[in-house]
């Protein structure tokens, strides 16, 4: 946690993990904080720079196999992200970044070590999951349904220390049944790229976790709500 009142958001390794508009999540968090009058600073930390451990929210995005393996190795060696999470930082981990937070994942046919901060591991799926995804989020988080677009070849298996973020109602997610994971203040999801554009309530959850608030003043979400309604309706329902 930062000692002053400025909220610090770090985007982890945009040079490696920024394939699908991942910048959007940083922009959305920054804007939603600013609309509540919360002073906010955003940092893009490249893979050749040390990872600060003093920020409040960390974002990590999607990418291809090579950059994913490289990013995981650098984060393990650096140690800054581990310290930040131990100090209570909030995390949104997407796609390749989500897999990195587990114990292991496959990249270019090789099993790679992850950060081990979520109790899960990822393997190669037989098919690529591409398309709209929808799910009912764990009721303990008190959030409306998840909507997103997924595009990944991995399947993720959760251990007892991680809880699924959502149960899938359209699309694949982790394994066709559950989608994403959460533990403490870490959220992981296959809803890729600018996931917060369609899920402003998740953005606000991260902000609440970061500043330790039970609620935030409401903002005008007319357009995000229209987008949500359209995409939730567009996601093909699961075969019964």
């Amino acid at each position: 946690m930062s000692t002053d009142s400025t909220l610090r958001i770090v985007w982890i390794y945009p040079d490696l993990l920024s394939t699908y508009g991942d910048r959007g999540n940083m922009l959305i968090l920054g804007r939603r904080a600013a609309m509540r009058g919360i002073p906010v600073e955003t940092y893009e930390v490249r893979s050749d720079q040390p990872m600060p451990s003093s920020a409040d929210i960390y974002l990590i995005g999607g990418g291809e196999d090579g950059p994913q393996a490289l990013a995981s190795q650098r984060l393990i060696n650096d140690g800054g992200l581990h310290r930040a999470v131990n100090q209570g930082a909030a995390v949104l981990a997407i796609c390749a970044g989500y897999q990195i937070f587990g114990h292991s994942f496959f990249a270019k046919g090789t099993k790679c070590a992850g950060l081990g901060m979520l109790d899960l591991h990822s393997t190669r799926g037989e098919t690529r999951a591409v398309g709209e995804i929808r799910g009912d989020i764990d009721p303990r988080l008190g959030l409306p349904p998840l909507t997103g677009f997924e595009n990944h070849g991995g399947r993720t298996h959760l251990g007892p220390g991680a809880t699924p973020l959502a149960s899938v109602t359209a699309g694949i997610g982790n394994d066709g049944h559950t989608e994403g994971a959460w533990h403490g203040k870490i959220l992981g999801t296959y809803s890729h790229g600018p996931a917060l554009a369609r899920n402003p309530a998740i953005a606000d959850l991260l902000l609440r976790w970061a500043i330790g608030a039970d609620s935030l003043s409401p903002v005008d979400d007319t357009w995000p709500e229209r987008l949500r309604a359209e995409r939730l309706a567009a996601a093909a329902p699961r075969q019964a």
Partner: protein, 406 residues
């Protein structure tokens, strides 16, 4: 030409004509597709005996192909797939339709370059740029560069004309011993932050770039854009007056001049030809309607959106985004585009995925108005220029709507 190929060519032409007559597009794909069914080697037969240039890259290939074909016409008749049908069926149709010509300039989808090189044995290949495009199905950028590089290594006799400003293209072109470099500038650099050779970061300053971990760096270009013209390898500057907007098209013109020069066309002969190109498959076309001068700009991916903003005048601007099959189903790329060049101009949005655009613009701090029809657009803007920037099927929709009225 073997009999089988002759029959295939004739059927291919007939099918294209039938397709046009039936109102099913311009027939630029279906004829070639049928011809290739009859003779799978038809493209090779049709290519034989022609001096061919291929033009490939993520963006600018349709326009550059058109400009190159115009420049080459100083030498004789040039076959070209001028409607952007850039896969082998399109090439087959274009060559069948053109009959025998000494030259051909063909736009090639970047994924098909290896196949089309094998089948057409080109004399020259122009490599424009590589960036993210249609993320739900395209190959990653570094993989495309590797595919190109392997193709060039296998075909050492082909002359390459390549963009010195794109690290991915430069790395791919190092697979060849015969490269002429042009500089057309690169506005988009998010897909070449990391060196494809060594994995180290790429640094940039003042138009130059270099890898921090290996030998890869920007080569010195022989052709480059300066002011309103192009400098040739001898250092002579040529004023280039185009009817196409923006610095991007000046870069495309420099590329066209470089490719034509490989066939012996001197810039002084080619430059006047470039000015004859007014619109390219509807792009840059201007349509007058109710006192509004509507100009159509196609933008398919983040790099081309940035280019479109550069071309667009400070005027009311309509943005339209779809996510149908030809566009790619994923709209995440909207967040890779910085829309701030649109500050201070009236912005209207429409299209299947207008809500995605709305959320993006709101976060970007750009006020906008959502409209449902072109009539509503016309009523919403004052007489004068209206810029329209749309992705692929949205662009086709707007063209169709304007055609109905005109």
């Amino acid at each position: 030409m073997p009999l089988r190929a002759k029959v295939a060519t004739s059927v291919s032409k007939t099918a294209a004509a039938l397709s046009r007559a039936a109102g099913r597009g311009d027939g630029s794909v279906i004829g070639g597709w049928i011809g290739l069914k009859i003779d799978p080697e038809l493209l090779s037969h049709l290519a034989a005996g022609r001096a061919i240039a291929l033009v490939s890259g993520t963006n600018g290939k349709t326009t550059t192909t058109r400009l190159t074909a115009a420049a080459m016409q100083t030498l004789g008749r040039v076959a070209s797939n001028s409607f952007g049908a850039n896969m082998p069926s399109g090439h087959t149709s274009a060559l069948a339709k053109a009959g025998s010509t000494p030259f051909a300039v063909l736009e090639v989808d970047e994924h098909y370059l290896p196949q089309v090189v094998e089948e057409t044995t080109p004399r020259v290949i122009a490599l424009l740029n590589l960036s993210r495009d249609q993320l739900d199905r395209a190959k990653e950028v570094a993989m495309m560069a590797a595919l190109w590089r392997d193709t060039l290594v296998k075909n050492p006799e082909i002359r390459i004309v390549a963009n010195a400003d794109d690290p991915m293209v430069v790395w791919a072109a190092t697979g060849s011993q015969h490269v002429t470099w042009f500089s057309a500038g690169q506005r988009w650099s998010d897909d070449s932050q990391v060196c494809p050779q060594s994995g180290h970061p790429i640094e940039r300053a003042n138009g130059d770039w270099w890898c921090t971990g290996c030998w890869l760096r920007r080569p010195r270009p022989q052709w480059q854009v300066e002011d309103e013209g192009v400098i040739d390898p001898r250092g002579d500057w040529h004023l280039v007056k185009l009817q196409l907007p923006g610095r991007v098209n000046l870069g495309n013109a420099a590329t066209a001049l470089a490719v034509a020069a490989e066939f012996g066309v001197r810039p002084i002969e080619a430059v006047p030809r470039l000015a004859t190109v007014t619109s390219v498959a509807g792009r840059y076309a201007q349509v007058d309607r109710d006192g509004r001068n509507v100009r159509l700009l196609l933008a398919k991916n983040p790099a081309s959106w940035l280019e479109a903003f550069d071309m667009a005048e400070q005027a009311p601007t309509l943005l339209s985004v779809n996510a149908r099959d030809p566009d790619g189903l994923d709209t995440s790329w909207l967040w890779d585009v910085d829309f701030s060049p649109l500050y201070n101009r009236p912005v209207l949005i429409t299209g299947d995925r207008a809500y995605d655009l709305a959320v993006r613009l709101e976060v970007n701090g750009i006020p906008f108005r959502h409209v449902y029809s072109f009539d509503e657009v016309i009523r919403a803007v004052p007489p004068g220029r209206l810029e329209v920037i749309a992705n692929y099927t949205a662009f086709q929709d707007i063209r169709a709507e304007l055609d109905r009225v005109n």
